[in-house]
Amino acid sequence: MALLHLTSSSSRSNLLKPISAALSYSPSLRRSISSSAADDSRTFTIETSLPFTAHQCNPPSRSVDTNPKELLTFFRDMATMRRMEIAADSLYKAKLIRGFCHLYDGQEAVAVGMEASITKKDSIITAYRDHCTFLGRGGTLLEIFSELMGRQAGCSKGKGGSMHFYKKEAGFYGGHGIVGAQVPLGCGLAFAQKYSKDGTVSFALYGDGAANQGQLFEALNISALWDLPVILVCENNHYGMGTAEWRAAKSPSYYKRGDYVPGLKVDGMDVLAVKQACKFAKEHALKNGPIILEMDTYRYHGHSMSDPGSTYRTRDEISGVRQERDPVERVRKLVLSHDLATEKELKDLEKEIRKQVDEAIAQAKESPMPEPSELFSNVYAKGLGVEAFGPDRKELRAVLP
């Protein structure tokens, strides 16, 4: 049985590496800090919880430079993402969100750490678990909740839904429903960046389920041949829907699967490790072509809102990860131990976030559903005045502008 295997194999213990190792820091930095910590321009160095494991390259240092402002931003951004996904859960149960809803809570460190190391001129493309990635790219809570509820204020004006968020001006190319398709697309973005001599890179995110897709290897082969500045990021949350990684992949060492392409295994629950890895990967990709990052992460929810997430893994495993490796808690502990804020300040911040989320939801609920004429808009960028038809074409037809 799958669950028995989990308790006995090393895979379970791998998921529960404690975060206590993250709390080492230089004692000279201890001093009392007021709420102007955000203006504090000190930098200090923190060790990642785990060393990086490298394939065909030399790993970056475990010592990550950061500063108070950054750490507080990490906390705020991840707490917002956490709160947002939990609120989406409630909205789905209230039937205000329909269809698919794939939640990211547990994986926030990947989205936030990545943003810390890149610019909006770099590109990100991901699959359907995209709400937090979109937020990280500069999307607003209003755009997110409106899109989830199919309203005009949504980032895709209500026409896309949960899996199809985009923000092209901020380098976010979706939001894709077909498992694995986003990887060649991401390599294509990198091709265009190189062709245009932009000096930027593309991050193509995919899961452990998608890691076995043939098109991934096709695109990786071409990317390596053509030296494209693409970083493939496997968000390994250890389950492809209900199938554990050891049941789907003969080799679940996803960072090694690129063979001739270098790879790095990263603790995806440690936002500083993610930041360091992405910084390293960007430099590598611009000079040497593709690289794979495997983020060891975890999702608390099931695959989607239709999946309780407990038939193929134990509740102990889920609560164990929450206890030992939660990415938001890790940063909270860092902020507190470095005296960047008090417990009360952080709690107040979380209350403020909750309020912001609730306000965004209320505003999103006010946003109207799309006009009926939107059924026929944006089929083409240039419709050529052609006719399009509804189910009864004698009743419903439109001219595409």
Binding site: L185, G188, S196, E218, Y380, A381
Partner: protein, 367 residues
């Protein structure tokens, strides 16, 4: 300007007399001959020259000069950054092409034949066709997928399918099918300039055929409108619609019918999606009879759509049931005699036209 106008009229009237006297290929100095292959090559060359964002990728398009020599000379002229030889991995390279289009480049992805596009069809439909809609206009996809489509000669079942009906069913795609060199130049240039994903279905057997081209057609600014069919031959008794290679067959059938007193109007569809319903319907309202011709499989084919469109809009004008001529409902056989039976021949089109005109036609013996 008047000169070009006169040239255009002269060119058009020459084309009509040309169709009538099909054997005669020599003309006045106004018309020049061009092979379809060269027409496509010149269109690619001119568009790549005009817009640095346009690039070509596919198997053997570069050093091999193109599997069918359509991209001959382009690697030498534009270099390996703009003419890219890919490995034999359609899903991967098509996805890369679509991703480049997302970013704002204008890729031309060549499939060695459209049979291989099935390996990449998810990217054509789900990544390209639907993106502008799903993103509410944020992500437009200015890409062209081109290559030979349909039956060649003796290449067997896996290399002979026509994909016009499949791709034309999909909202978000535009589907073009050139016949002549003028079509090839004008439609390919239009496709490359268009901001939406275009499936451009060529025909291997037409690559080596020559057609007259006017000076206007040869001009680098020449472009044909997408969504407009062309009346290749005017007539008054029966309408025959066709695309790609079948246009030539329909014109030959019209010649034969003319000798028997039936005046056939031949419509070269040029654009399968959008389909020029108004030209088709206007023609049927004039002739009252319709034959649709295509090479692909009959069920759910292009002819089925045209027939329904005419029934919806011009039912009262029909004097006879709509006839459709299509490829046989079998995978393409290899043996030459069976292959000949599996694709429409000129006599099939003639026979169907006569049936629509209620001329007695000897019944075939029951199989």
């Amino acid at each position: 300007m008047l000169g070009t106008l006169r040239q255009k009229i002269l060119g058009q009237s020459l084309q009509r007399t040309r169709s009538a006297a099909s054997a005669l290929r020599s003309y006045s100095s106004a018309a020049k001959e061009m092979m379809v292959r060269d027409a496509l090559n010149s269109a690619l060359d001119e568009e790549m020259s005009a817009d640095p964002k346009v690039f070509l990728m596919g198997e053997e398009v570069g050093e091999y000069q193109g599997a069918y020599k359509i991209s001959k000379g382009l690697l030498e002229k534009y270099g390996p950054e703009r003419v890219l030889d890919t490995p034999i991995t359609e899903a991967g390279f098509t996805g890369i092409g679509v991703g480049a289009a997302y970013y704002g480049l204008r890729p031309i992805v060549e499939f060695m034949t459209f049979n291989f596009s099935m390996q990449a069809i998810d990217h054509i439909i789900n990544s390209a066709a639907k993106s502008n809609y799903m993103s509410s206009g944020q992500i437009s996809v200015p890409i062209v997928f081109r290559g030979p489509n349909g039956a060649a000669a003796g290449v067997g079942a896996q290399h002979s399918q026509c994909y016009a009906a499949w791709y034309a069913a999909c909202p978000g795609l535009k589907v073009l099918c050139p016949y002549s060199s003028e079509d090839a130049r004008g439609l390919l240039k239009a496709a490359i300039r268009d901001p939406d994903p275009v499936v451009f279905l060529e025909n291997e057997l037409l690559y080596g055929e020559s057609f007259p081209v006017s000076a206007e057609v040869l001009d680098s600014s020449f472009c044909l409108p997408i969504g407009k069919a062309k009346i290749e031959r005017e007539g008054k008794d029966v309408t025959i619609t066709a695309f790609s290679k079948m246009v030539g067959y329909a014109l030959k059938a019209a010649e034969i019918l003319a000798k028997e007193g039936i005046s056939a109007e031949v419509i070269n569809l040029r654009s399968i999606r959008p389909l020029d319903r108004s030209t088709i319907n206007a023609s049927v309202r004039k002739t009252n009879r319709l034959i649709t011709v295509e090479e692909g499989f009959p069920q759910h084919g292009v002819g089925a759509e045209i027939c329904t469109s005419v029934i919806e809009e011009s039912f009262g004008y029909l004097d006879a049931p709509v006839e459709r001529i299509a490829g046989a409902d079998v995978p393409m056989p290899y043996a030459a005699n069976l292959e000949r039976m599996a694709v429409p021949q000129v006599e099939d089109i003639v026979r169907a036209a006569k049936r629509a005109c209620y001329r007695s036609v000897p019944l075939a013996a029951a199989a």
